[in-house]
């Protein structure tokens, strides 16, 4: 007897979506970084409207997944944290976009 699938097979792709990228706050961070070489924390705060704590925790998660690279430096006496998208991160976004676009197309 053939096994029945409860959800439409076309939507099964969505189950495989990258959950690191899929989270809205992280998606915003990645999208901003996608268009630039690198950005500091202050710029990311303004671009995403997240709080320091939120941004910091999401960037840490992205760093752990090796989607972004974080570099801390000092400009004069002031600390500056620059965040840069890695090649892995860029590929993850491209793959995420393809998956989502495909799913949305099928949904009509």
């Amino acid at each position: 007897m053939a096994k029945t699938t409860r959800i439409a097979p076309d939507l099964l792709d969505l189950a495989d979506v990258d959950r690191i990228v899929h989270e809205p706050a992280r998606l915003m961070i990645l999208m901003v970084l996608y268009g630039v070489e690198s950005a500091d924390f202050t710029f990311l705060l303004n671009a995403t409207d997240l709080t320091w704590g939120n941004l910091s925790s999401h960037v840490t998660k992205l760093e752990e997944a090796e989607y972004v690279k974080v570099e801390k430096s000092f400009v004069g006496k002031k600390p500056r944290t620059m965040v840069q998208l890695t090649d892995t991160g860029r590929r993850a976004i491209d793959s995420y976009r393809q998956t989502m676009q495909g799913a949305m197309k099928r949904l009509g």
Binding site: V36, D40, F43
Partner: protein, 216 residues
């Protein structure tokens, strides 16, 4: 998600935030055209050579001043961003700089040429459109360049700036040739409008983007 995320819109917004949000770009543009409005007056005082040197000095001062202001005023509030250096972005930057310099050069030539370029001095051509062919070209070049920039960066006021500055240039040349005006009032009015917009944007920027003290 209620709507599709358009990556181009995100990039456009990033560019807006990093370049046009603080009003400093507007202040620079307005100041340059204000200098041009006073150019004939200072030329009468200083002579053509010294006046050009004075103009270039002030231009350099304005550009450096804008960079310094961006570093000390915008940077700590808006944050620092390094633009992505794709071949497309490099080309866009080169085209923008070249077109801006070309526009500035055209404006200088039409305003202060000895007569061989600007046909407005020819009394035999009665129509404003026919007489001021070069100036009309400047109107369309400026309108076109600023419109492309406005579209590319998603900054609507650039459309207005381009056409306004182009028409102000035409009006300035016309008034110089017909009424003998030394002070380029139309250019000064256009520059003044841009300066007011720039100051308003800067004040809004200072209010909306306070310096953040905590670092990650």
């Amino acid at each position: 998600m209620s709507e599709a995320i358009n990556l181009r819109d995100v990039q456009r917004r990033t560019k807006q935030l990093s370049t046009f949000e603080d009003g400093l770009w507007d202040l620079l543009l307005g100041s340059i055209f204000m200098l041009l409005a006073f150019y004939p007056i200072t030329r009468e005082l200083l002579g053509p050579t010294w006046n050009m040197a004075f103009f270039l000095f002030l231009l350099a001062f304005l550009v450096v001043g804008q960079l310094v202001a961006r570093h000390f005023i915008s940077g700590p509030r808006m944050g620092y961003v390094q633009p992505r250096r794709t071949p497309q972005m490099r080309l866009l930057l080169i085209v923008t700089v070249v077109m801006f310099l070309l526009t500035l050069g055209l404006v200088l030539l039409t305003l202060f040429s000895p007569g061989w370029l600007s046909s407005g001095s020819e009394p035999s051509t009665p129509s404003l459109v026919r007489s001021y062919g070069v100036e009309w070209i400047v109107v369309f070049v400026m309108g076109g360049i600023f419109s492309v920039m406005g579209y590319k960066f998603g900054v609507a006021r650039l459309y207005f700036y381009g056409w306004m500055l182009g028409l102000a240039n035409l009006a300035s040349v016309y008034m110089t040739h017909t009424a003998g005006w030394t002070f380029l009032l139309p250019a000064a009015i256009a520059a003044g409008i841009i300066l007011v917009i720039g100051f308003t944007l800067l004040l809004r920027f200072l209010r909306n983007y306070p310096i953040r003290t905590q670092e990650a």
